[in-house]
């Protein structure tokens, strides 16, 4: 999707290892979000950022941390991966709070924890 890139696209990791997912945008949007997508649950917000070094928790933040040292990058870290964190992770960006013009989503990272 134009303007937003997630890396890696796929990852398999072992239980107990730390994992970092990266979201990179070229739109200079202030707001960035990390969601996870699981069957039957839709998308659930993990963490979000409303500016450089400004972040807050979403509804499923336990076991995750984030950092935003530059406008364009928003990192999601699984401190010690568990099988319950096997999921598809999506990053989204927005130029305004509340997604007035809708969010732009990345193509996702499929993470498998074995």
């Amino acid at each position: 999707d134009a303007g937003i890139t997630q890396s890696p696209r796929h990852k398999v990791t072992e239980t107990g290892t730390p994992v970092t997912l990266r979201c990179h945008q070229t739109e200079n949007h202030r707001y960035m979000y990390w969601y996870r997508q699981d069957p039957g649950h839709g998308l659930r917000l993990i963490h979000y950022s409303y500016g450089v070094k400004d972040t807050d928790k979403g509804e499923v933040s336990d076991g995750y941390s984030v950092s935003r040292s530059k406008t364009e990058d928003f990192l999601l870290t699984l401190e010690s991966a568990t099988s319950s964190q096997t999921s598809v992770y999506f990053c989204a960006i927005s130029e305004s709070a509340g997604g007035k013009y809708g969010y732009t989503f990345g193509s996702g990272t499929r993470l498998t924890v074995v």
Partner: protein, 114 residues
């Protein structure tokens, strides 16, 4: 608490027929509602939103949605379905108190058969 429900996991429709994908919501205050579409191995794409005003909202790709306050519904519609409309559709509602938090439904898979 804010939430949305999509009562149908799957909707099947023949090409050329009208389609409806259902969504009901529960919010504190006035609702701020969205529809997104997800094609395989892609992120979500914004279709349309309702903030206030006309109950019939027009969006991308010929889709529209009807807001019904008395029934707390926000159903997605299209007069004539295309095979290319086959995808996963998500309804979402914005949190009344924190504009950065959205709550997504579990998704409805739309199958349009030739």
């Amino acid at each position: 608490a804010q939430s949305v429900a999509q009562p149908e996991d799957q909707v099947n429709v023949a090409e050329g027929n009208p389609l409806t994908v259902k969504c009901t919501y529960s919010v504190s205050g006035n609702p701020y509602l969205f529809w997104y579409v997800q094609y395989p191995n892609r992120g979500l794409q914004f279709l349309l939103k309702y903030i206030t005003g006309d109950n019939l909202v027009k969006g991308s790709y010929g889709f529209e949605a009807e807001f019904n306050k008395s029934q707390t519904s926000f159903h997605l519609k299209k007069p004539s379905a295309l095979v290319s409309d086959s995808a996963l559709y998500f309804c979402a509602v914005r949190d009344h108190y924190n504009f950065n938090k959205f709550y997504f439904g579990s998704g409805t898979k739309l199958n349009v058969k030739p």
